[in-house]
């Protein structure tokens, strides 16, 4: 069941972007926060852009290393389409320069793989709190 945040008419709409099917399902399963509605999942940046236009999500979880279009390029394009979208990068790339680059391009948070369910839920909750 979806529960909306106080003063909000609809649940937060989330798009999941990751080239791993297992990871996309993991993120979907771990959304214990019932303020969320998963509106789609994409396996690369090109698919993500298409789904983003169709579903108009409030939040996006974004992998970085993906075929066809990587996460950094996708973030730039998503922010152009919707400047107030909240983006949580979920990536194994653990160097500081990549995190800084992603944030400068428009990401709002960064969660490193591997992660626990608790870390994932906290990262998403933080983003929702900022919406």
């Amino acid at each position: 069941m979806n529960r909306t945040a106080p003063g909000r008419r609809r649940p937060f709409r989330m798009l999941i972007v990751d080239d791993s099917n297992i990871m996309r399902r993991r993120i979907e399963r771990s959304q214990q926060l019932d303020e969320l509605e998963v509106v789609g999942s994409a396996s690369n940046g090109v698919e993500a852009l298409e789904l983003f236009r169709k579903t108009d999500p409030d939040l996006v979880t974004m992998d970085l290393t993906m075929p066809q279009m990587d996460g950094i390029e996708c973030i730039e394009q998503l922010v152009r389409l919707k400047p107030d979208v909240r983006i949580l990068v979920i990536s194994a790339l653990a160097d500081k320069a990549t995190a800084v680059d992603a944030m400068e391009k428009g990401a709002n948070g960064f969660l490193h793989k591997p992660f626990t369910d608790r870390q994932l839920n906290e990262a998403i909750a933080e983003l929702i709190g900022e919406c």
Binding site: N21, I22, L93, A94, K113, P114
Partner: protein
Amino acid sequence: MLQEQELKTFVEGTTNYFEVAAQQPASVGSPYLVTEGLPAVHEYTGVITVSGRREGVVYFTAPKAMLTVLLMKMQENDFSHENMRDLVGEVANTISGNARRDFGNEFVISVPNVLTGERSDPPLVAGARSFVIPINWRSHSAKLVVSLK
């Protein structure tokens, strides 16, 4: 050439992966140098090609039985061939990506290329020294192979 400290990065990455993703620590052995060719692989192998400041491959190779238990620990109930391929690639990607904490962003990693079958040959990079990091988890054995110039 690969230095001892650099290998430690991969050992720590592997240890961390099993602790966090599988919620059960693995016994990660001391790396050893392969003197000829590349070591034999298990049924599923996730290969990451490295470019940039370093050149070579990093691959994680594991038997189906180990991947099945890993999937169970991740609350997955799909044990298809495709999911095994997905998982072995994701493990290789995660450990290689985590290595950028020490190697920096000029350690450029590819998306995973997955090989199946114990007769498959991961790419061998001429002039690279190959180290095997043995991994024992529950009753299963796997390997992380780091072959970098």
